[in-house]
Symmetry: C2
Subunit: 238 residues, 2 copies
């Protein structure tokens, strides 16, 4: 099946979590909004009165007649199809639970630079962003990293869920990539306590199809429009 992925062009964003799974599996997919006039096509689709089940926001995936939105929901759907999910129902629920915790983490990262409103510029909420980022880097970032470190420890394995790489491992890889870009100082302080997470990151980066993707032009660089943004004033140096 050829999947159609709809997401804002120009940033990695939430779409990247889906992309990593598709790329790692060598799946056949197209990025609809990266085509000429693709963003217009995406908006038309979302606003069309003929769509019975419209997404609230990108990313969304078309798989045959199905239209699926919400990043974690897309991955829950794709996981078994891409052989990136456990076989048992209990295992799939657990993988999904971890993915939802990552989704919460992503939202908190976003709010470090947009604590007041997504519709305002960063420059219009800078003092608030500094306060929120200070809390994020000193409280929340260690809490999330320590949680995933513990999950790896308790699983007694080189992956988060069961014995095989799942989409959750790919998503944790992406979190580390993004956090290192956005908060290099805060991350350096954490590295010593996150050895299992960082080792997982390195093993994921070395997977052949993923390494090829990361080196390709399809992998957009991080920038100041995405979810992970590097504003030095938000990166705690204390």
């Amino acid at each position: 099946m050829r999947y159609e992925l709809y997401y804002w062009p120009g940033i990695q964003g939430r779409g990247e979590f889906v992309r990593l799974a598709l790329e790692d599996a060598g799946a056949d997919y197209v990025e609809v909004a990266r085509r000429p006039r693709g963003t217009a096509a995406m908006s038309r689709f979302m606003e069309s009165r003929s769509i019975k089940r419209p997404p609230f926001a990108p990313p969304f995936l078309k798989a045959g007649k199905l239209v699926i939105a919400q990043t974690a929901n897309i991955l829950f759907f794709l996981g078994p199809r891409l052989r990136l999910a456990p076989k048992s129902d209990a295992g799939r629920l657990w993988a999904h639970q971890l993915q939802l915790t990552i989704a919460d983490w992503v939202a908190e990262v976003h709010d470090t630079h947009h604590p007041i409103a997504g519709s305002l510029y960063y420059e219009d909420q800078k003092p608030e962003a500094k306060r929120r980022a200070e809390d994020f880097t000193t409280e929340r970032l260690p809490k999330f990293l320590n949680y995933f470190e513990q999950i790896l420890d308790r699983n007694g394995s080189r992956v988060l869920v069961g014995n095989a790489v799942s989409y959750v491992d790919l998503s944790l890889f992406q979190m580390i990539e993004g956090l290192r870009y956005a908060f290099p100082h805060a991350m350096t302080k954490q590295e010593r306590k996150s050895r299992r997470v960082l080792a997982l990151h390195d093993r994921i980066a070395a997977r052949p199809r993923l390494a090829a993707y990361l080196a390709s032009e399809r992998r957009l660089p991080f920038n100041l429009d995405g979810i992970f943004r590097h504003y030095p004033e938000l990166d705690n140096r204390s």
Copy 2:
């Protein structure tokens, strides 16, 4: 099966979305943390080294040997068991997608009074809360309400998904309850544009088992510790 629900006592919070499904279905469940020394039991459970798959945060549900966290994930699991979910896989993914959109909405409601840090008091982030609540009541609240109004319209039915009441309808009921408590002025302004959503709210409130629950002592009142909080200064009057 007797389910065990773990959530902070004293507030409705995210646990309420699970509670409404259990109550509407007449399921057998216990509220572990509302028992004497229950909060300590909940913390002990979360911190125990013997739990292989620890939750990041409450609510979580024990169902036999399974421990499931993340509100939307719990409802995805419970839905079919409580006959509050569609039968088809596609229908269940769609219901879950809507539930995840509600989860995002809940997080935004929370951040109206805690835009800087969950670990700080409201009083320590009041100016930021006023700015965030202003954006929430004028931009985000109408966007979410209009979205669900549209879903009801497109489904051509009295429920959000398919032809039967699902857990998503119960959750939308709870959103309206909470929003009316927290933002009475902003909600009054929206009522005219949200007729389908409000009619759904009223039909859900009249379901016999749910009405009995809402009139019982098990239904805690909204208060200034929960997710939905009424601070008059955050309720847009313009």
